[in-house]
Amino acid sequence: MSEGSPIVLEGVAASGGLAVGRLALCHGRRALRRVAGTPAEERAALVAAMARAAAQLEALAAGAELLAAEILEFQIALLDDDELTEPILARIAAGTGRALHVLVDLGVGRQRTGCASTAGALAVARRIAGANSLAFGGVQAYAGHLQHVPEMAERARQGAPEDAKIEDVLEASQQMHKKR
């Protein structure tokens, strides 16, 4: 993102409130090197990976308290959303390499979403860098514990340590992506 040129990104907050913080976007995709398998193999691999992810989330939800379980259920539902998966499957069918852009989710705040540690987030980034079918799309972090701090300056002050963590993960992930 170039300095001084604000980009407006429209989104939907998962809960009510005002979200203020850093949005770390990573552009500059590398040229596509190759398609890892045949489109049919790639499709099967993605469908299987989504099924594994859903099973992992279901296992997590089974041991979570009700509210947490319902948030996990939302994530499972997104894996099963044809409107989201069909464009990806169409790109795979068309033979597009790196059809799937993946964000690293860093858990800040109440650990409702994302990797609990910086090391965990970097392990995810490493997996993305090592996977032929994935492209690193950036870092996202949801600071739920700051959602209800009404004053902007105070919110920024409390969010500063999280900002630093996000910055670290973004930089390290970008380095991994460049090296591969």
């Binding site: 319902e70 259920e73 939302f74 997104l78 959303d81 409107e83 989201l84």
Partner: protein
């Protein structure tokens, strides 16, 4: 085919969102999960002039941003269209069992 296709069943209905924060993530999942149980194609919109979206897509339903006090409307087309609409209307009327 020598079997005449049955008349396509259609149904529509609506209900007012009662949750003070509107149609947020958890109710959106409940709505889409319920819609997926039916064979009929179901679309939903928020308010009187909103865009119709696929009621089986959690992402699309979330993006409706249906607010407290707003009416969500359903339209279904398919074999079980009437059952689908009445089940979905009841879910909204029950405030998504929240």
């Amino acid at each position: 085919m020598d079997i005449a296709s049955p008349e396509m069943e259609r149904a529509s209905g609506g209900a007012v969102v009662r949750d003070p924060t509107g149609l947020h993530a958890r109710p959106a999942v409940k709505l889409t999960k319920l819609a997926k149980r039916f064979e009929a194609a179901v679309r939903v919109r928020a308010g009187g002039s909103g865009e119709w979206v696929n009621a089986k897509s959690p992402n699309r339903v979330m993006k409706l941003k249906a607010r407290h006090g707003e009416t969500v409307s359903f339209e279904a087309e398919g074999a079980d269209a009437a059952d689908a609409v009445s089940a979905l209307v009841e879910l909204v009327e029950r405030n998504f069992d929240e």
